[in-house]
């Protein structure tokens, strides 16, 4: 499963919305003190709780049990297409109590002081959570995000079009044998750049030198005709496979399942260079007004029950206690061990250059 794509907002409207939201101030002036956990963790939450996250992380299936357990809480949700988009809107004044943040894009929030440290003692399952010590979870000694979902990024192919066994490397994305039948993720720059780097034999794709980044950019530009499309959301790539436009793309096992649901014989492959992996979680915002409810929501999402729902959706869970509760068919994919050898997506130090490189590819 991959993170969903950009929302269909007109760009000028996007500027306007962010700017108009900015009239209300907010954002940016974060407090550094740790958000206090609720005095009574078992008491139902009340008031209003605003959650800002990827759409896949705020489904009714996932949140309805929490709503039922907290009938006096008014739970409001809003979705974004990328962490940068979410952070830009929050910096412009969009107010939320809880926000989903991915470890490779934490600086979008931390640079603007949008997050408030979390007390891990307030998270019941904290000690069971894998990735709790991963890069990006902490800023110094402060815990900023509770990791709640993860996934590998490898290759998806249509076995009806490409015989099994042919696809085993990110280099296959650039193989002329599949020209014009390939799509590459483009909702944010990182996957395409990192995968291209791996296809070129670069072993540390998250720390590219300027020369390596130039090489990657040139490779993408030279291979422009290789790609039928740049996919920007799960629905987009599902549609591309289903309509016969493509036979090969990058993505995760959860996404493969969604494609299979449409009747395409899609298969997922971990490339020989090792798949990439991402980890996302929930954080409490600097402007959070209802921190009690925020802790309760995060506790629910970290619980084995909620994690099992995520497992059934094709995600890798961060709480291994959820695996026995998950659908047997989903357990292997959901096991954190499945991405133990993957290359974690971390934020490149010069990410703006990566964004520019990807723009350069698209603008050719």
């Amino acid at each position: 499963m991959t993170r969903p794509g950009a929302a269909a907002l007109g760009p000028l409207a996007a500027v306007a919305i962010v700017v108009i939201a900015g009239c209300g101030g907010g954002g940016g002036e974060g407090t550094a003190d740790v958000a206090p956990p609720p005095d009574d963790p078992s008491a139902p939450a009340s008031g209003t709780l605003s959650v800002f996250a990827y759409q896949d992380s705020i489904t009714d299936q996932l949140l309805d049990p929490f709503r039922q357990a907290n009938p006096d809480l008014d739970l409001k949700t809003a979705g974004f297409g990328s962490n940068d988009e979410g952070a830009a809107k929050m910096a412009g004044g969009f107010r939320a109590d809880v926000v989903e943040a991915c470890l490779d894009e934490m600086s979008a929030f931390t640079d603007r002081g949008l997050l408030r440290p979390i007390d891990p003692d307030g998270i019941e399952d904290w000690d069971d959570l894998v990735f709790r010590d991963a890069d990006g979870v902490r800023d110094g000694s402060d815990v900023l995000v509770v990791p709640l979902s993860a996934g590998p990024q490898g290759l998806i192919y249509d076995a009806g079009e490409i015989p099994p066994g042919e696809i085993d490397s990110f280099a296959d994305l650039f193989d002329p044998a599949y020209a014009d039948r390939v799509a590459i993720e483009g909702d944010y720059a990182l996957p395409a750049i990192a995968e291209t780097a791996l296809s070129l034999g670069i072993e540390d794709p998250m720390n590219l030198t300027p020369d390596q980044l130039d090489e990657v950019t040139q490779k993408l530009i030279d291979s422009r005709d290789q790609f039928r499309s740049i996919w920007r959301s799960d629905a987009d790539v599902v549609n591309l496979f289903r309509s016969g436009e493509i036979a090969l793309a990058d993505g995760g096992p959860g996404l493969t399942e969604r494609i299979r649901d449409t009747g395409v014989d899609a298969r997922w492959v971990a490339p020989e260079e090792r798949p990439l992996s991402w980890v996302c979680g929930f954080a409490i915002t600097a402007d959070a007004e209802n921190t009690d409810a925020a802790y309760k929501l995060i506790n629910w999402l970290a619980s084995p029950q909620a994690q099992a729902i995520r497992a059934d959706d094709g995600y890798v869970v961060t709480n291994p206690k959820a695996i026995p509760l998950a659908d047997p068919a989903a357990r292997k994919t959901a096991d954190p061990k499945s991405i133990a050898n993957a290359i974690p997506e971390t934020e490149p130090p010069d990410y703006q250059e990566w964004v520019r490189a990807f723009r350069e590819f698209q603008a050719q």
């Binding site: 996007a14 940068d84 830009a88």
Partner: protein, 296 residues
Amino acid sequence: MEAAAIPVRRSSRAKRLVQPLAFMATPTALLIAFFLAPMLVMLGVAFDRGLLDGGVGFNFTLTNFTDVISDPLNRKVALTTFEIATTAMLVQLIVAVPLAYVIAFKAGRWQVPILLFLVLADELNPMVRIYAWRMLLGREGLINEGLMSIGIINHPIDALLFSQFAVTVVLSTSYLTYTVIPIYGAMKAIDGNVFEAARDLGAGWWTTTRRVLLPLIAPGIFISLLLVYIPLFTDFASPALVGGTSGYMLGNVVNDYVLEAGDLNRGAAMSIIMLGLSALFALVAYRLARINRLES
């Protein structure tokens, strides 16, 4: 009697002055609150190095503008955008003028139903419309399948989708309603006898179109250009969904500045530049339309 008449005239004059102002007060206030104020904030962001981006206070700079203008990548994208938007606009005018003519002068009792159909077609969700085009233009889409079934082609035409052609087609149809209706409005104001007069004087259909019809509908075309040509430059959903690797437009650049790079300042600067160029274009279009017929 004369002395008594003066205050009445004064009162009526004051009323004439105050009444329109009072009448305009609410819309003016709304315009300032919901249009001008956000625009001013956006201007502020465009001229600031980090007003809403973690910066403290307002620090005037032109850097956002110089960065955006001097970036060769943006100039390249601007050229692509100009090509696509202009082609799409021309295609729309080529379709809209005859269509408006048929509706205005030939459709008879079907006039209103056709107009309603055009309006309803525009109500279709843009994303649904774009995906419908993908189903039509795709490799296994209706057009390719149709052409193959009647033996015109042996292999699907890949360039129908995920190409600049696809972006142009989708953009051309997305705004057709807003192109047709102003031109139709201009045509309805024309006395049909002028065409008869032109024919009596020996003008053929092309001369009549060029010398009579087009000058008379110039105001409608001007309004269409304002309503359609300018938004074509800012569209980003169509290039993203049907452009593949060759439909990157200025709207996508702004989108990437704001939502991908998180650079609100440059995104705002880019938007202001596009707005300025739009105003310039509107002025030129107005002048051209005025030369012909607008003032009458």
